[in-house]
Point group: C3
Amino acid sequence: MAPMTAAGEEMHALVERLYPLCRSITGDGVRATLDIVGEYIPLQVHEVPTGTQVLDWTVPQEWNIKDAYIADTAGHRVVDFAASSLHVLGYSVPVSATMPLAELRGHLHTLPDHPTWVPYRTSYYKPEWGFCLAQETLDALPEGEYEVCIDSTLTDGHLTYAEHVVPGQVPDEVIVSCHVCHPSLANDNLAGIAVATFLARALAQETPWYTYRFLFAPGTIGAITWLARNAERVDRVKHGLVLACAGDPGRLTYKQSRRGDAEIDRVMRHVLAASERPYHVAEFTPYGYDERQFCSPGFDLGVGSLSRTPYAGYPEYHTSADNLDFVSPEAMADTLAVCREAFAVLDRNRRYVNLSPYGEPQLGRRGLYDSLGGRSDAKQAQMAMLWVLSLSDGEHSLLDVAERSGLPFDTVAAAAGALHGAGLIKA
Amino acid sequence: MAPMTAAGEEMHALVERLYPLCRSITGDGVRATLDIVGEYIPLQVHEVPTGTQVLDWTVPQEWNIKDAYIADTAGHRVVDFAASSLHVLGYSVPVSATMPLAELRGHLHTLPDHPTWVPYRTSYYKPEWGFCLAQETLDALPEGEYEVCIDSTLTDGHLTYAEHVVPGQVPDEVIVSCHVCHPSLANDNLAGIAVATFLARALAQETPWYTYRFLFAPGTIGAITWLARNAERVDRVKHGLVLACAGDPGRLTYKQSRRGDAEIDRVMRHVLAASERPYHVAEFTPYGYDERQFCSPGFDLGVGSLSRTPYAGYPEYHTSADNLDFVSPEAMADTLAVCREAFAVLDRNRRYVNLSPYGEPQLGRRGLYDSLGGRSDAKQAQMAMLWVLSLSDGEHSLLDVAERSGLPFDTVAAAAGALHGAGLIKA
Amino acid sequence: MAPMTAAGEEMHALVERLYPLCRSITGDGVRATLDIVGEYIPLQVHEVPTGTQVLDWTVPQEWNIKDAYIADTAGHRVVDFAASSLHVLGYSVPVSATMPLAELRGHLHTLPDHPTWVPYRTSYYKPEWGFCLAQETLDALPEGEYEVCIDSTLTDGHLTYAEHVVPGQVPDEVIVSCHVCHPSLANDNLAGIAVATFLARALAQETPWYTYRFLFAPGTIGAITWLARNAERVDRVKHGLVLACAGDPGRLTYKQSRRGDAEIDRVMRHVLAASERPYHVAEFTPYGYDERQFCSPGFDLGVGSLSRTPYAGYPEYHTSADNLDFVSPEAMADTLAVCREAFAVLDRNRRYVNLSPYGEPQLGRRGLYDSLGGRSDAKQAQMAMLWVLSLSDGEHSLLDVAERSGLPFDTVAAAAGALHGAGLIKA
């Protein structure tokens, strides 16, 4: 638990560094975020020009913002972007005006049910400007004139995303994706970014079977851009996981791929069921995070999504209450641990062929079997060997063996290793 | 509810008109029945000569009856066909004789467990004569001589059945079948005839996708005759429903086709599950009504059967207690409503292909999507569009989409319409 | 019940005769066993020389034993092979020595948890010598010198097994296998040998459809030897049953074949479910009896295993408590009865094709149907005919018909017989 806790603290520290930045689907906030992540793992950063056609979409203009506020006639800032990046409607066009509160209200977003929270709102594809604020702040404003200022730019520029690759023994890829477009929201998705970062770092210390590709990209348009620019690589993506909401106190939720029986789905279900954690497995829906794009019917990739409390499933979702207190080192460490367990299974889950399939091979003369017969307590390792031999017909994976036998995957994989070493099975 | 209740009253009025007629598998009772139905919807009446080979069967001689009675020595009719068509064994050969009660008993059918009810009995393929009467009537008869008279004819003639077609946009057919061979039995099957008649009338006011063919024919031999004479048309029958026992107070029962997963089976299960009615879905059995013929293994059509209390499932079944009081306007209206709901789903249940299957198409620029992002409450209509896009791979029907998404079929169908209108999917 | 009880008594008498013999995987104990079984049913005995390569294995040297004991310095035999064949470790190499108890302990096997029972232990493939004794016997031995003697031989010789064939109407075979290598253990597997013997005798009095081959062979190496020497015959084996632990008081357990949906699996499940016996169906595992060999992935035969309490599932397993009191005539008679019921189903379970598949054939004119219509109580035999006609599409077996209809298999088979006789279906 100690090393994991250390990783949890480090991940929380990363979240804290990223939290103040004003991210959006384009702009310098994303670049600053990737700069920080790049201090942990090397990143290949891509800049895609405004106007680039990506699948059915077009890369939008780049949005940047220096300042934004609502000030009263005394010049006092009653709402200030400097206090929280959430205060401005994402992708707000610039504005500089004075208007009565009655007119301003049409541009203000609040959460009447949570009067102390500031909502998160955007208007990416419809030119708007607006502010988000606490209901109680709004309620305290006297009628009268207000100065409104949004010092933003919306100009031709670039969409920014980054990749990090952990090379494997085979070119087949596992994609791990997280969105980097949300401003000061800790669980959605700074925790996902942090877990992805530390997962990459952990995998790099092994020599994994698969090549693991980590994608840090803005939601929707970022995944679509990656898919559009990597049409030839998509066929190599055999499995994938979208990480989001990875740090809240809730139980883990795995949302299955559109296929529902993809290998990643089976691996995640197995690992979660085998662990003693509370968890939930959710059916695919075409809503949520970037699994929507990876699982669109033309691609239909085996990509699921791992969260703690899922998309929109907690009151703090998309509000200022999704803050640094809402995510914990322990929760992020737990999410990271499950990812590592799952990839450890995925990475070893192969189909073997029994090279001595007629009758049982004589394990004893190969030193693989307890030589003293007549005992009723077959050892688990021996059972695992018999199960691997029985099901190694090219149809069953080691995960199939584990599930049908009820034996731990590690035991089954070790048995396969021993049998492979003895020349009794081939991959 | 008001128009439905009106239809219920009209259907009950039709049942009342048909009730007194003495129907059998051939004869003038069937013709008179079809004449009355023909006042509601145009019918094409077919007359098939005695001796015609139909599949494994032969059209039998035509049976007609003018009078039948048992009279005591005083000439008093103790059993009289004029009082109820049930009193005579269906297809009785003529008889005119005097005999002691002891001898007559061998020709009398009663229901000892329901001493006031008259049973319904027939002997189509074995020459017999007989009377059906209440047990209490029989018990009251003193021993002695009785005059028995059945003034029937059994001669070469015709088997009569009728069709009504509601033309659709495609030649693929849905067959709706009901048997018209039972005498004064209200639920079995005058209620079925009435619901079929009003269903045809309702469909004719729309322009359905499928061509709906209504078949009014005697049980077994009628369906076999239709199948024998329409060998080339059978391939066009994509779905079908046999209507019987459509007016009793019990919950609805859908009996699945032999295939069990035919589209009509799935549609009926969906519509019944989505409604708030109590209902039961029964497995196919090769007994019951004319689904036996449509589902015989050579045809194996997707034809189920809709009843309220099913075949032989109520004590009044095939007795004089299946009378005009046993069926209600409300029950018939409810059966009709379910048929209409089911056909409304069946008629729109198509498979689409997503023309923009790589990533999500940008719904926003097509005016199909709420342009203000960041809100967690995706609207049902938008979810339906995403689901239709996700599953429109040519494999899934809109019913699949509705069942997998949990969204109402109407919402899914509307979403498909919007996407089709935007050129994003094709049928 | 009377004849069955008689068979039960006869089977128990056979077990009593076989009990004292010291069987192993080779040697004269097996030959003496087969001599006795041969008094009940004719056996073809095979002798396979030491050193013969059989699949991945080699036929081992033949082991025989004349005497074995541990004696104290007074010459008193404290452990004596003459008292029980279990006292010597199976396949012990010869030894003649005097040693202190402290040194001897390394060669002694006991069951501390059952201090009065003698365990059964072997060392077939690793040269060892040893004794098995009750813990309480060991505890009573004073420290000091002991004479140990095992007068065994381990020399080139033969492996012995036997076959008995009940010829059928077709060359397709059902194999019934039991192991004959265990010494004085009544349930494992003298009861299995006895049930197999009387099953063969019962089948020979009929003319079964399948050819039934009974195999009496030592466990593992015997089955492997048979498979190696009958490579061309294996394709004829359509079904099979391994009999073991057939006489204890527990409920019946059927362990499914590796395929899990082999016909024998379905037949056994059906027969057990239809009977009023308590029973258990177990999934296949690659451990247990010779189903391990028959179900190895290269063969993957439809061979299950029938036991009462299964392999290693009772405390008496592989101990001296598995004695003549542990098995009963009633239990063996019950196991035999289930085997006969199962084979009676298997033997008649064929797929038919309806020769009149378009609509129902007119059963009435063929005398197959109650001619008096209108009655609601369809007779079971008529329902069975309708079900057979409905499902005789070449895809469904009579067992499918029985399971889908809920009718007894016997009724369904009789209906198929009647329809076949009437020329309405063909096999």
